[in-house]
Symmetry: C2
């Protein structure tokens, strides 16, 4: 049994709390948040606090706080030589105060507070400075049911960056598609199966192999039609740049 | 029962042949291809030909050919006043020769010859000049099991353009992510659940509501870190342009 205390009640903190609370090999000893209001509703099932000096004992302290808050909160912790981990993709393990044993527990997923998440699908990227701490985090992660992977800080940085491309930027392409079809009162719903199929395809096939379309075929006639159809200058720029990128990849 | 003849054996033609062959309310009377070699293997189950003058009778002639071939092949057809449809997203219905009744039967999906496709997920966008022809195409499409939608040429054009954004361009973002993580020997596999989750999220939530990340939060520190991490100038340009696009959408 691993005992854990979660610090933070943002998207990641809240999802982690709910998932770890359900994990059979984990006890959540306490939940800290700067503002007690956010977590007061949970006080019937877990000890809640907004006072760092009241933090209890635990095997792992999980800082599920904003990137900027990782270093200062780790400094404020009123204890030493405990295992303290952060959950941030782009924060170095050494940003944690060295008075404690340090680690990273990074769930590679996009968290929205409202949407329910199944952690059994979410890879947990783990980094520690001590091997014994790695085994503790591995047990903690395995309680969530998903894949667990050893990932160093350099790898985590590029994964976090790549996640912005596949998640935030792809989603913005969906948004632009939404704007484009609405300009002719066509239905965005008609694109939803294609969006899903595009994501499913690269589960088995490399994105290189999965590519199709006018850019890859260098179909200049269609490309010109499309550019003429786009009303916003920014959408034209994105079309040109992505088309160029596809053509560079596929040697056109 | 609707009888159909398919012309063309590229990606769409092949997938359509297989799906229509299985449809209970459809008979495939013949399959034409310019090169008989491509379809010879099917001659035990369907009449195959490479000679337009040998085309049989049917309720619908489906031109599943490249965009450029739609107009010339429709001119070469040795009959009049039959229902002839093309399957191309960006070709106008009037590009079909007017000696026949004209229509469009556009499956809104990305076709790769190797990957199997379930047509019950694929919206069929239908356009005709005559209402009675619309009902014929609607029956034909319903045999495939998926949603059927009346879509005019202007709407089809923007849907085809939007499909390039959500399919080809999203896939290229996956490709770039692949390159980025490989630069540090991290695993692209770790990103696959996030890719799928991103596509799933917009099935219920608008892309506007689904957006998260450093661009939306205007987290300049992370944006700078990411730009410094990108090695290729083109990837930096894409990062900047997509970030700007997200910020314009969300009013930062």
């Amino acid at each position: 049994m691993i005992s854990v205390i979660i610090l933070g009640a943002g998207n990641i903190g809240t999802h982690l709390y709910k998932a770890l609370k359900k994990a059979e090999n984990v006890t959540v000893n306490q939940w800290y948040n700067r503002s007690i209001k956010t977590i007061n509703a949970f006080q019937t099932e877990v000890d809640v606090t907004d006072d760092l000096s009241q933090l209890k004992e635990a095997d792992v302290y999980v800082l599920a706080v904003s990137d900027e808050a990782v270093a200062p909160i780790s400094k404020l912790l009123p204890f030493e030589n405990k295992l303290v981990v952060h959950t941030a993709g782009s924060v170095n393990i050494h940003d944690l105060d060295k008075k404690n044993r340090r680690g990273v527990f990074y769930p590679l997923q996009s968290f929205t507070k409202t949407a329910d998440l199944d952690f059994s699908d979410i890879p947990i990227c783990i980094e520690t400075l001590e091997k014994s701490d790695y085994n503790i985090l591995k047990s903690l992660a395995s309680g969530l049911g998903g894949p667990v992977k050893k990932v160093n800080s350099d790898q985590r940085k590029v994964l976090h960056l790549a996640a912005v491309f596949v998640n935030n930027f792809s989603n913005q392409l969906y948004r632009i598609a939404h704007e484009i079809v609405e300009s002719e009162a066509a239905e965005f719903d008609l694109l939803k199966p294609l969006i899903l199929e595009t994501a499913k395809k690269v589960q088995d096939l490399s994105p290189y192999m999965a590519q199709t379309g006018p850019a890859k075929r260098n179909n200049q006639k269609t490309i010109k039609k499309h550019l003429a159809l786009l009303e916003k200058e920014q959408h034209k720029q994105i079309y040109k740049l992505m088309t160029k990128s596809i053509q560079d990849t596929h040697g056109n």
